[in-house]
Amino acid sequence: MFDSWMDKYEYLIDLGKNIPKINNENKTDDNIIKGCQSKVWLHATEDSGKVIFFADSDAIITKGIISLLIRTFSGQKPKDIIESDLDFIDEIGLRQHLSPNRANGLNNMIKKIKFYAIGFNKKING
């Protein structure tokens, strides 16, 4: 898919530049994802039974990673997000280019995404 790590990073940087951006008022401490060396904010809303994610980060590569994740999950039903398998992350070789610290941050991003989905699922299905 990519020739080199540099292509991969450049792709992530581009994704970061076009991130569905979180509003400044939603950049609260509650919306910060813990375990990242840089700051990452994630917020979600529900629209017609589907979850829409917004995010931002003060580091551009991190912004690219969270952008990639929310592009994948935005517009999906909460139930599908909860049940999704995340093999694609390993398939595109994202994890291998992350240090263990960073991979930990990635896991926390996914956790927070699923956490939102669980919340909306309860709201929709009672």
């Binding site: 540099m6 990073y9 450049e10 940087i13 060396q37 840089s38 580091a59 551009i60 240090s99």
Partner: protein, 404 residues
């Protein structure tokens, strides 16, 4: 000084390839690399010497004890302590600080004051905060200036008759500033306060003489001195260590034990309960010999040259802001480039084989002072060379190009 190329051959890891590039290791303030003689010492210990020390009558135990105590003698000589009773082996600088801070639990009372500096590593803040919570003592902070230097006038104003302990690092891990600890110690003693100096970032770079400093406690780690991880050194004045209560109980630190009462062993064993890191301590002694063989004066001179060269080259890159510009600093440069997050730059140059530290360097109060999330920190050791600095600059330029 010994030729750098031949020194580099002593460190097998310097031949490593990272992502297809030669490793450029510039994170020496986090941990230094290990020469063959130290690696061989550890391997030799487990092949030929492994046994428990201080209690066996058999040959191996006696031999291991002799080597372990010989390492203590080497650190005693190196730091110019008065006696080997003043050298305690711990698991690291953090452990050493916890041991001392905990020892003040019963002697501090509510309203007593202790003094820290804004330049500290978290490991020289948190154990003392825990002490404050236990005793009701109050922590005061010596402020710093824009150059990353401590304000000594402000320090003097903080000292009162209530001041019981002052704890400051000799060299800042985040900025490289060398603090005027001679003055800090002298002033504290005028008020009867004890002083602990965290020398983790000092001992790898220049000579430290605890007697001349008249310091009460001096702590450092072997792994920043080309030794293995898991070995710390605590120097304490004998009369103070004798008064200080033991930190942990166990075997080897006792004199007599009954269920009614235990009497403790003499120094240094009182503070070394259980089986210590025998192989690590012996190898730390070997590391110390290795460094002394090159010579700390030679090391300082050469590292200063690396620092000057790298600082000049770095300033040629547009947007570089260096944090910590004291005239008196070790071979550490903390910086940012424009508005780019340090983590982004660290990630890109890692892929080019360049190892640096990014983030707050376990010194968040310093980052708060400069109002930044963190910095990129490059830190040199005597095995680094000018060519590596050129590669660093090339990698940084490439990162900036990608991230701007």
């Amino acid at each position: 000084m010994k030729n750098i190329d031949s020194i580099r051959k002593d460190f097998p890891i310097l031949d490593a390839k990272i992502n297809g590039h030669n490793l450029i290791y510039l994170d020496n303030a986090a941990t230094s690399q290990t020469p063959n003689c130290v690696i061989d010492s550890i391997s030799d210990y487990y092949k030929n010497l492994n046994s428990n020390i201080h209690r066996g009558v058999h040959f191996l135990s006696q031999k291991a004890t002799e080597k372990y105590e010989n390492a203590r003698e080497k650190f005693k000589e190196h730091l110019n302590a008065s006696s080997t009773k003043e050298i305690i082996f711990t698991s690291g600088t953090t452990h050493s600080i916890n041991l001392v801070a905990n020892g003040f639990t019963n002697s501090l009372k509510s309203g007593d004051e202790i003094i820290v500096s804004q330049l500290e590593h978290h490991s020289n803040i948190v154990p003392w905060q825990m002490l404050c919570e236990k005793t009701g003592a109050v922590m005061k902070v010596i402020p710093m200036n824009n150059l990353g230097e401590l304000n000594i006038n402000a320090y003097e104003a903080l000292l009162t008759n209530k001041t019981k302990v002052v704890f400051v690092n000799h060299v800042s891990n985040a900025l490289g500033t060398v603090n005027p600890i001679e003055q800090i110690i002298e002033k504290a003693h005028q008020y009867g306060a004890k002083v602990l100096i965290d020398g983790a970032q000092a001992v790898p770079h220049f000579h430290v003489d605890v007697k001349k400093l008249d310091v009460d406690f001096y702590v450092c780690s072997a792994h920043k001195l080309c030794g293995p991880t898991g070995v710390g050194i605590l120097y304490g004045k004998q009369e103070i260590l004798e008064e200080l209560p033991p930190y942990q109980g166990g075997g080897e630190m006792i004199d007599e034990v009954t269920f009614e009462k235990t009497t403790y062993a003499d120094l240094p064993n009182k503070f070394e309960p259980g089986t210590p890191n025998i192989a690590g301590v012996i190898a730390s002694g070997v590391a110390l010999d290795y460094i002394n063989n090159i010579g700390l004066d030679n090391i300082k001179k050469y590292e200063d040259e690396l620092l000057v060269y790298a600082t000049e080259k770095l300033k040629e890159i547009e947007g570089v802001k260096i944090y910590g510009e004291s005239k008196n600093k070790t071979s550490v440069i903390s910086f940012n480039i424009g508005k780019i997050h340090p983590y982004d730059i660290g990630s890109v140059i890692d892929n080019l084989g360049v190892a640096v530290r990014t983030g707050h360097h376990c010194a968040q109060p310093i980052m708060d002072y400069f109002k930044i999330p963190g910095t990129i920190r490059v830190s040199f050791c005597f095995y680094n060379n000018f060519e590596e600095i050129d590669i660093l600059m090339h990698s940084l330029k490439k990162a900036v190009q990608m991230l701007s």
